[in-house]
Symmetry: C2
Subunit: 420 residues, 2 copies
């Protein structure tokens, strides 16, 4: 189908899906999971994936190739993910607020699906099943647009998922995969006013920027994280070392990893050498990759490391690299963060209550932490049970987006002849 | 100041405002109200308004001139409006959700201001004080951009409001008025990424469309309402006549007025003549303006009226005009609404519970009514205490926007050394 035909098909599916009750949608999800693991689907998905892998080899990195690769085990894990989503509480139809007015009107603010959600993503096949499951669970039709490296795999997965929908009498077009993997289809989704009720770009900074610049449909920015940790003068330094190593080095490629460490000048002489030891020689001794430090002039006067260049405090390294700066106060830390943060996640490590309160009040990011790692910004860790991405914008959804964030609401008002 | 200087000034003000507590913001609002009524402000505002009126005379309609005109009484009413907003509960800092995770993390989802809200509006001077009051109450800085006819009045009002802010140690730039009233400044606001956290256009369909097309900052569409009332076969017809007359003719110029009436074919022969009588001769006999009916062919076979043209079911008349169509079922009514509605407000009049349930489930509008007038879609009528506009979009806010809808949220997480 052309992209326009898919837009129309998804819009056509949304009404039936919005009217299906939660039990039907959960049952459809269980069928989708079962279909994914059927012998026929397994064979088809693995064959499609093998073709994707063969075509991609030599064109993308080994890390990307590994992300792309599917095995029976990985497909079973995708199915298990769908079943977990099926078991979550139904987000649709919740009465968010109910008031009875003096004139007798009963006003209920009720959660409803957004309608059609479009997701633009890259090459991880499991995003295909995750995103489709979250959309169906929240009563939304979805249009998936994946990177060209993963298209054959995504298509085979989507065929299995659509079979699961059909078996339950739900429209198969509630899960659609865009066939065109050029920029044209991404642009078509960004401008599909009247067809796409919510666009979620999941990818690098370039994709997010393109959406901000070009999207005419409602859009949620996700992902880019230049996360800061500020070590205050009263911080528990032993815990601070554990937290910083975890935030920086446990998984440097993710958006909630720390990129910048701000250290209070009153403890810089004492703390920075410990930090350099922990992230350098200690890690090497433990057989781990060391973290390269990019130091501002004050930090460089205390410990060895790379002098920070002008861009180092505005870069999402996604690597074993940490920018380090010495500041004189919590207010200087707050001001630095206001200027350089992407609004994702920031932390203060302190035993001074007033500093913790000032930091949490003043820092304008999706997640603001006191005395723990920034790595907790995650739908699962927040207890949402799932995640469609991490919003760095302030409209509608902020931070990890779960099922509730994939819903809108409407007011349903019952009367008995009232006029105004 | 240039528009760019104003953008920077407002951004500079937002941090101080976000840190001010609710009592300080309420106190500032009371000072703003008092300043508005001070003898010096009264004189300045009335003089500015006289200049606006003199310049506008002959260029805008009498109705518009009346909307523009200020008197001491109207200024006192604006001040009273600010005091009422001051007395509302503080929307900032509410803990929307609190979870304690198994690892001991305490996660609080907390309401916070959006930051800087820009409002583009037309010529009603009271919008200046209303919008500023709602912004300050919700901890937001605001940038106001009014139509050129009202600029002198708005400027005099803003000077008084800023004096009230200064008296309370809050930054006067928390309320800014754009000096340039050309399209250039509206476009600058639409594209002020990094400065404007939320743009609210309040105006005609052209302005809303321009924002959807051009806005790169988060934007909420407001206002356009092609509202439908469906008279089902089991409707209480006496109540239906009252409701339709109220929804159509009590104030035709507003967005929650009815524009289209759908009548079930099973009662059309009986009901349409009563409707024609009520909206025509009965109103004339009572000294009121009659409503012109634009009839589809089936309705035209039953009662006299103007034959409906192709555009009549897609027009926000904002006038004493009602389009009328005969349909065969609640599903046909739902389908017509899905195709022609702007997603504002729709009603079903029925005594059949299953039809009411189907209509409220299937109609995808901000407010869906059973057995009452669409005119209730209003912040005050919904018990919100105030209103910044009526959203017809599904992202973030839908229907009447009160103080809560002018807030975002952030997650504040307290730990004791937790790592992932």
């Amino acid at each position: 189908m052309t992209t326009q035909e898919i837009l129309e098909a998804a819009r056509g599916a949304k009404a039936a899906l919005a009217l299906a009750d939660g039990a039907s949608r959960a049952q459809a999800l269980r069928s989708m999971a079962a279909q994914l693991c059927s012998p026929a689907s397994m064979t088809a998905i693995l064959a499609a994936n093998a073709a994707d892998m063969a075509a991609a080899k030599g064109h993308i990195s080994e890390v990307m190739l590994d992300r792309l690769a599917l095995t029976e085990e990985r497909i079973r894990a995708m199915a298990k993910g769908i079943e977990e989503v099926a078991a979550l509480p139904d987000p649709v139809g919740r009465v968010l607020k109910r008031v009875e007015r003096p004139n007798g009107l009963v006003i209920e603010k009720t959660a409803v699906p957004m309608g059609v959600i479009a997701i633009i993503y890259e090459s991880r096949p499991n995003v295909t099943s995750d995103a489709a499951a979250l959309a169906i669970k929240s009563g939304n039709a979805c249009i998936l647009r994946c990177g060209k490296e993963a298209w054959r795999s995504a298509n085979a997965i989507v065929q299995a998922l659509r079979q699961g929908l059909r078996e339950n009498g739900l429209p198969e077009n509630a899960v659609c995969l865009i066939e065109d993997t050029t920029h044209a289809s991404a642009n078509a989704l960004m401008t599909a006013v009247g067809y796409v009720d919510l666009l979620i770009p999941r990818g690098g900074a370039g994709l997010i920027r393109a959406c901000v610049e070009n999207a005419k449909v409602p859009c949620i920015q996700t992902g880019t994280g230049i996360c800061h940790i500020f070590v205050d003068d009263t911080a528990d330094q032993a815990k601070a070392l554990d937290i910083i190593e975890n935030a920086k080095a446990s998984r440097p490629s993710v958006c909630n990893a720390e990129e910048v460490c701000l250290v209070h000048s009153a403890i810089a002489q004492e703390f920075l050498p410990k930090l350099a030891q922990r992230l350098g020689p200690d890690r090497v001794a433990a057989g781990k990759l060391p973290v390269e430090l990019r130091l501002d002039t004050r930090a460089a006067a205390i410990i060895p490391g790379t002098p920070a260049g002008p861009a180092d405090f505005d870069t999402e390294f996604l690597d074993y690299i940490l920018a380090v700066k010495v500041v004189d106060s919590v207010d200087e830390a707050i001001a630095h963060i206001a200027q350089h943060s992407t609004g994702h996640s920031e932390a203060i490590l302190t035993r001074t209550q007033t500093d913790a309160d000032r930091f949490t009040a003043a820092v304008d990011s999706a997640a603001v932490y006191v005395n723990c790692s920034t790595r907790f910004t995650d739908g699962g860790e927040f207890g949402l049970g799932c995640e469609m991405g991490i919003s760095t914008q302030k409209l509608h959804a902020r931070g990890p987006m779960g099922l509730e964030e994939l819903c809108s609401y409407k007011y349903v008002i019952h009367g008995d002849g009232q006029i105004r």
